[in-house]
């Protein structure tokens, strides 16, 4: 079985080269950096870290090609995005109100022990909003599959074939960060399936894409929905983990109440912090967090796996 490694952001602390070398990979390495969008082809530095063995799958470029050549798909893509944007807008309104309710309830003085019950109920309301969003998103994907099946697009089929052939030649895959929405979209449209025997190294948005639930977060965002938002399903290679890149920069880690709400909201997941320098290894197909990984626990504090 292969190894999966999640790294911290690579912009200032670049460890991808050493990490890939540590895997002992001798063959070609597939590069996925469609999250960089129009900068996808500026991959010289990344390829350099891979000792020139990198093969860029050029998923963003391929997506542009499909949008240009397949008008039916292009129209369906716009319609899908419109509906998803509307769904996200309603989700944001409901979610923020539900989160605000949790904090309001938590701050209310409780003399007769109603407080904790009310708070758990308010938390459940947040989870219900998340479930509603996930169900609506599934429904949306279902309707798109029915009206504009990706399998029927000749252009997409051609690209899928080429991507599949490239992947077959590669021993490992690296997935870079960037715009996680774009990254997930390209992975989904081209049905990029990671082979069980392929080792994977991913960071930032790439790390998020490997999980089963991609959660958007930015506690310091000046405006808009302040609460973390469920976004989409990822590739599911690392189920049960919510990847939180740039955690120190994007999360109010000192606000334990806020962090506790986040951890309890995604109670079935481990909230994994991926800051600069982080290296989290999942050897031999493992999906359990290894010792040393930093997570947010239910109390809202940062704890280290394996440390009592």
């Amino acid at each position: 079985m292969s190894t999966t490694i999640l790294l911290g952001p690579q912009r200032f602390t670049t460890t991808v080269g050493a990490t890939v070398r540590s895997l002992g990979v001798t063959g070609r390495i597939a590069m996925v950096n469609s999250g960089w969008e129009e900068r996808e082809s500026d991959d010289g530095e990344l390829a350099g870290h891979l000792d020139g063995r990198g093969v860029n799958l050029r998923l963003h470029h391929r997506m542009m090609d499909v949008l240009t050549k397949d008008q039916h798909f292009a129209a369906a893509a716009v319609a899908f995005r419109d509906r998803m944007d509307e769904l996200r807008a309603f989700y944001g309104i409901r979610l923020q109100a539900a989160i605000d309710a949790v904090h309001a309830v938590a701050h209310r003085t409780s003399i007769h022990a109603v407080g904790p019950i009310a708070e758990e109920s308010a938390m459940e309301a947040v989870r219900e909003v998340d479930r509603w969003y996930a169900a609506e998103l599934d429904e949306l994907y279902g309707s798109v599959r029915a009206t504009a099946p990706l399998d029927e697009s000749g252009t997409i089929g051609w690209h899928r074939g080429e991507i599949g052939a490239l992947l077959d030649e590669c021993e490992a895959v690296v997935i870079a960060g960037g715009n996680v929405r774009t990254l997930l979209r390209t992975l989904r449209v081209f049905d990029v399936t990671l082979r069980p025997e392929q080792s994977v190294v991913a960071w930032s948005a790439g790390a998020m894409a490997l999980t089963d639930e991609v959660v958007l977060f930015h506690d310091f965002t000046p405006h808009g929905v302040a609460a973390a938002e469920l976004h989409d399903r990822g590739l599911g290679r690392l189920p049960g983990i919510v990847a939180l890149p740039h955690a120190k920069r994007r999360l109010m880690l000192d606000d334990h109440e806020r962090m506790s709400v986040l951890a309890r909201r995604f109670a079935e997941h481990r909230l994994l912090l991926l800051d600069d320098g982080a290296v989290v290894r999942f050897p031999d197909g493992a999906t359990e967090l290894p010792a040393g990984a930093r997570v947010i626990d239910r109390t809202g504090h940062v704890s280290v796996v394996g440390v009592a």
């Binding site: 960037g178 715009n179 948005a205 938002e229």
Partner: protein, 380 residues
């Protein structure tokens, strides 16, 4: 606190020319020391004043001659973060003249000409104002739109964001005094930068200049009809815009703020948000003596009527105003009126006046609130 430079200079009387030269060269003008600003003028004149429009400071602000020299000075309080536009006025015999401060190279520009700028301690031009070579530039397209409402061809400039893509949909921002916003508030550069920094969602903006501003901006039915029934539908038909009220915003400053609000009042629910900068929200509580002159008559009539029966014509309203401008009181007064009507209001004040650089500096806050950028999607 250390004594002011100009007071230390006064101890060295009598002053000769080279001493004054060195002083001016060393300290420049105005001299900012803590929350004090000292204005200087040098010349053989009978009187000198600083002319400005800062509510709360005397205007004209007289300078005094230092000893028997040709150097004049006055020191005034200038709170942290302030930014003041001013000119120098001199009298020589019966001759009066007014001009920008010859000792201060820093200028601000407006449709009325230029002014000197005094920036207090703590004031910084926002970094997103200057051209950023890393920010991909959007495109400005000039067009003539025929308007039946206005009975003329109306020039507009349409801003398409970098990476404009017909497979995406964009919100629409309608900018009153559009040419001035582009020229004096660097709005294209500001949009390019704010979008590049992910602070603001990529958007389409249409910059609309007035022809007869004093007629068209204070609650003018043909203008409102042009915007809501001609321009926006035309753009929605031609461009990939999000066709919902939430994605449509009107903005303007001063009378342009009134044009924005009055258009929204005439077409309630059609626009989702407004951005009003130092809007001329002048009103009277009793009688009609508003003191603004005839140009403000239709404004006061409109604002008085709105105050009598406030309604939520949009969902969200961003308001900004400078605390040194006379409109600060009406703007502050209208915030609770708008909120009580049911609109969500974000209101900010700045230590600045009724000018384009003030409005420029507030664009970041306003646009990021109205059109939050996609920061949550990007994890580099």
């Amino acid at each position: 606190m250390e004594r002011l430079a100009v007071n230390r200079l006064r101890e060295r009387l009598p002053l000769d020319g080279p001493t004054i030269d060195r002083f001016v060269e060393r300290y420049g003008c105005p001299i900012i020391e803590g929350e004090r600003a000292t204005f200087l003028y040098r010349g053989d004149v009978d009187e000198v004043w600083v002319r400005h429009r800062v509510v709360g400071l005397p205007d004209p602000l007289p300078l005094k001659r230092i000893g028997e020299s040709d150097l004049w000075a006055v020191t005034t309080v200038l709170p942290e973060g302030s930014r003041v536009e001013y000119q120098i006025e001199i009298r020589k015999g019966e001759h009066y003249e007014r001009f920008n401060d010859p000792l201060n190279p820093r200028l601000a520009h407006s449709p009325m000409g230029s002014s000197s700028v005094c920036a207090a301690i703590g004031y910084r031009v926002p970094e997103w104002v200057a051209h950023d070579p890393e920010a991909r530039p959007g495109t400005l397209v000039e067009e003539q739109v025929h308007s039946r409402a206005l009975r003329r061809d109306q020039p507009v400039q349409i801003y398409l964001p970098a990476r404009f893509n017909r497979a995406q949909r964009y919100p629409l921002l309608v900018v009153h005094d559009g040419t001035d916003y582009l020229q004096f508030a660097a709005m294209k550069t500001v949009l390019d930068n704010l979008i590049h920094r992910l602070d603001v969602d990529p958007l389409v903006a249409v910059f609309v200049p007035p022809r007869d501003r004093l007629k068209e901006y204070p609650n003018h039915a043909p203008h409102a009809r042009f915007i809501a029934r001609e321009l926006v539908p035309l753009l929605t038909q031609r461009l990939p815009l999000i066709d919902t009220p939430e994605a449509r915003c009107l903005m303007g400053s001063s009378f342009g703020g009134i044009a924005s609000l009055s258009t929204a009042v005439r077409y309630p629910g059609f626009f989702g948000s407004l951005m009003l900068q130092s809007a001329s929200l002048v009103f009277t509580d009793i009688g009609f003596d508003h003191g603004g002159g005839p140009a403000f008559d239709p404004v006061v009539k409109f604002v008085n009527r709105f105050r009598e029966k406030p309604s939520a014509v949009v969902d969200r309203l961003f308001m900004s105003c400078g605390v040194y401008e006379p409109l600060i009181t009406p703007n502050r007064s209208m915030v609770p009126v708008f909120r009580h009507a049911g609109m969500t209001v974000r209101y900010t004040e700045s230590r600045d006046g009724h000018n384009w650089e003030n409005w420029r500096d507030r664009l970041g806050d306003g646009l990021a609130w109205l059109f939050p950028g996609p920061q949550k999607f990007v994890y580099e």
